[in-house]
């Protein structure tokens, strides 16, 4: 199927109008990138405040517990809902998925434009929580009864989730239709880039599970503002209903972030190693779809300490541990893709290589948390905090940054590599380790999450040192990351305008976005001729020259 090449106009309209009214998937991708990076910046600033507040005992930068809780709320909600999900499924999928399958745009370009603006409205609504006097302080999880009885503005949380959910559902429908109907003639399912597969899987998860989250937070809204009692036990409701509904979506949401991140890594590593993807079909059908299949039956591991019946907890221990099977197969394919390759290194590959370490550390430290008896102690400690930062935040964010460096020449016609990129990579990589390793250590001894003070643990020592010394090291690490990220952003912006010009296919990739389009691709992506592939074509076929 081909669409006319008029998705982005060449009219003499001013630039701001062209961006505002665009239905071009590449521009929408860039809009997602800009929005998600803005959210990352603000949420990162919140993280710094949180970290510096914890550096020493007692209150230092904040004036009340509620203020601190407001920062925590914004940091969590924005990082997950406005940075990671839109960054990976919004930016990366929008810009590159149509190019990878040889499509001229997505199936419904105007709905696509509607999705990105819903996302922007959600960000504005979330940012308003800093202006209104009763900004939400209910954490990104919004558990009742606190979210119902709190004096803060729960409706802002609910409507932000609604807007983002609506945006994601529209995006999911759009991209599933695009991949099913708009692949280049001749392109079979086993010829798709792994990134395309992971994005399809992520959107299937979004489509199935988001309505449940939307229902959960809507009932919250009713409870707080309309006087219903869905979650109020004193009137026959149930406090745990919300947590079950919430995690029924929010655990699969981890894979909405994880899968596209893994997909980006596969594409970078296969290209940089000039190698086939090891055991492609196992990675796709057992790995990616195995994760989707299991995603909906493990959520109770978030409720191990919530007083669920013992048999459910033990059942979900087994299903949760079994996640290691599809993830293991996917990991093996990732590793195998390097085997007998011919690896060239650049910033993208350095980020990708560091992701191999992050996926191991983040993934394996999750195994104790699959076991209820372990979790009875570890839950809600900084051990959990460090674990999910390594796998969700750091692994996925590093994969996204790898993708940005990898595709930078495609988007801008220029390289982003250089001394600034290398320095910021090392600052970020060292920084995340210095920040989160200490949290594993004190977490095991009981340091709780979401505490601005830990006065009660002043006599507890780990390895002969107080919690405060570990928090001090972690705070130094956060400062190092902040410098690294700042340099990185300066580098991105400077490179976009003044970077070294890049050829059309600088990495000699076989993937369609490199072989068949200009950098950056023009309106309609592929010029005048439609892309057609034969049955022997593969985005990872290097040996046949």
């Amino acid at each position: 199927m081909s669409t006319p090449t008029t998705t982005a106009s060449h009219s003499a309209a001013p630039a701001w109008k062209e961006w505002l009214l665009t239905t071009d998937h590449k521009r929408i991708g860039v809009l997602y990138l800009v929005g998600s990076m803005a959210a990352f910046g603000v949420a990162g600033l919140m993280a710094l405040i949180i970290r510096f507040e914890q550096m020493e005992l007692g209150m230092q930068f904040i004036s009340s517990g509620t203020e601190y809780n407001g920062y925590l709320y914004f940091h969590g909600a924005a990082m997950i809902l406005a940075f990671l999900i839109p960054g990976l499924t919004g930016f990366a999928a929008n810009y590159f998925l149509p190019l990878m399958i040889g499509a001229r745009d997505v199936a419904f370009p105007r709905i696509n434009a509607f999705s990105v603006w819903l996302f922007y409205f959600a960000i504005v609504l979330a940012l308003l929580s800093f202006i209104v006097p009763d900004g939400p302080d209910i954490m990104w999880t919004g558990y009742p009864p606190y979210s119902v009885t709190s004096a803060s503005n729960t409706s802002m949380y609910v409507f932000t989730v609604h807007l983002l959910g609506f945006s994601s559902i529209l995006g999911a429908v759009n991209f599933l239709v695009t991949v099913i109907y708009m692949r280049a003639p001749g392109m079979g399912w086993n010829q798709l880039n792994i990134f395309v597969w992971t994005t399809v899987a992520a959107f299937v998860i979004q489509l199935i599970f988001i309505p449940v989250l939307a229902a959960a937070v809507t009932l919250l809204l009713f409870d707080k503002y309309l006087g219903t009692h869905f979650y109020d036990p004193s009137a026959g409701g149930d406090v745990l209903l919300y947590q079950n509904l919430f995690w029924f979506y929010s655990h699969p949401a981890v894979y909405v972030i994880f899968l596209p991140a893994v997909g980006i890594l596969f594409d970078i590593m296969a290209t940089m190693a000039k190698n086939r993807v090891f055991n492609y079909k196992a990675a796709v059908y057992a790995g990616i779809w195995g994760i989707v299949g299991i995603a909906g039956i493990v959520w109770v591991h978030h409720l191990y300490i919530a007083g669920m019946p013992d048999w459910i907890r033990l059942g979900h221990m087994v299903t949760t541990l079994l996640i290691s099977v599809p993830v293991g197969i996917l990991t093996l394919s990732l590793w195998g893709t390097l085997y007998k390759g011919a690896i060239t290194y650049n910033t993208a590959m350095m980020y990708a290589a560091s992701c191999l370490y992050l996926i191991l550390l983040g993934g394996l430290t999750g195994i104790p948390l699959a076991i209820p008896s372990m979790t009875l102690h570890l839950s809600e400690t900084s051990y959990v905090h460090a674990h999910f930062h390594f796998i969700m935040a750091l692994f996925s964010a590093f994969a996204l940054f790898a993708g940005i460096y990898y595709w930078f020449p495609k988007m801008t016609g220029r390289f982003a590599d250089g001394p600034m990129a290398t320095i910021s990579f090392w600052l970020n990589f060292v920084g995340v380790n210095v920040t989160f390793w200490p949290l594993f250590i004190i977490g095991k001894e009981g340091m709780p999450r979401r505490y601005w003070d830990y006065e009660m643990f002043k006599d507890v020592e780990v390895l002969g040192r107080s919690f405060q010394e570990f928090h001090f090291i972690a705070t130094i690490g956060a400062g190092v990351i902040a410098i690294g990220m700042l340099l990185q952003f300066i580098n991105f912006i400077a490179s976009a305008f003044n970077g070294k010009p890049a050829p059309t296919n600088p990495w000699n990739s076989k993937s369609l976005e490199w072989t068949h389009t200009a950098s950056p691709p023009g309106p309609g992506n592929f010029g005048d001729t439609d892309v057609i592939v034969d049955e022997n074509w593969s985005p990872y076929e290097y040996t046949k020259g």
Binding site: P233, N279, G336, A342, T344, L356, S373, L376, E445
Partner: protein, 236 residues
């Protein structure tokens, strides 16, 4: 696998033996927890080190020597593809069941309250815990005021909340569980040694003073505990 089976049969078996025999070998859940932690850490360290060495070796070994070089790996045959999926899947699954069996055993230690456990009721409020000791002695604790439990006496905490969700955690005894309005939950501890650096903390976000919803918990000899309880009863 053997451990898994024995854990499953053990679950059925222990309901049959008398409570007397059970009490003789009273588990110490926090010690079981530490052993399980060591087992799991060994397990994930072995996997992690093997995978990390493989990654680092390949990242160095397979560097391109010229820009035109391409990878030389051959495509897998169908049999190899299936084998490379099924064999690792079996290994991972075996490891999962091994860990599940270990976890299950410790879980039983945590959830089976001994018959001779002393019962303390806990009610969570924003932002403190209220305790009801045997004999109806009410104790309100704060960050400076410890509660006491007697050494050698298993204690079960039966818990609920009067407002929002809290969590009753004692890191010293490697245990916590949420406290919710409209529901009752429990944990039990077996304080085999005296200690004065134990901390009770709220571990489920509950608002403004969540970070200060905490009090010390000391395990003291029976005589000292009795004196403390008598003092609390007199004050109450």
């Amino acid at each position: 696998m053997m451990k898994f089976l024995s854990a499953m049969t053990g679950l059925v078996g222990t309901t049959l033996v008398s409570s007397q025999a059970f009490a003789k070998e009273l588990p110490v859940p926090n010690e079981s927890w530490e052993r399980l932690w060591d087992t799991v850490m060994l397990d994930i360290t072995v996997i992690g080190v093997i995978m990390a060495i493989a990654a680092v070796w390949m990242l160095f070994k397979f560097r391109a020597t010229s820009p035109d070089q391409v990878g030389t790996a051959k495509k897998l045959t169908t049999v190899q593809s299936i084998a490379f999926a099924l064999i690792p899947a079996s290994i991972f699954m075996a490891d999962d069941f091994y860990l599940a069996a270990n976890g299950w055993t410790v879980w039983n230690d945590y959830r089976r309250v001994p018959d001779n456990a002393m019962e303390v009721k806990v009610i969570g409020y924003q932002w403190y815990f209220e305790y009801e000791y045997p004999g109806g002695v009410l104790v309100e604790a704060d960050m400076e005021t410890p509660v006491m439990i007697p050494v050698g006496q298993p204690v079960v905490f039966r818990m609920t909340s009067e407002d929002v969700i809290h969590s009753f955690g004692i890191p010293k005894y490697r245990v916590k569980e949420d406290i919710m309005p409209g529901r009752k939950t429990y944990i039990w501890v077996n304080p085999v040694e005296a200690q004065t650096d134990g901390v009770v903390q709220c571990a489920e976000f509950c608002g403004e003073a969540h970070s200060q919803m905490s009090n010390p918990i000391h395990a003291v000899p029976q005589a000292e505990y009795n004196a403390w309880l008598a003092k609390m009863a007199a004050e109450g």
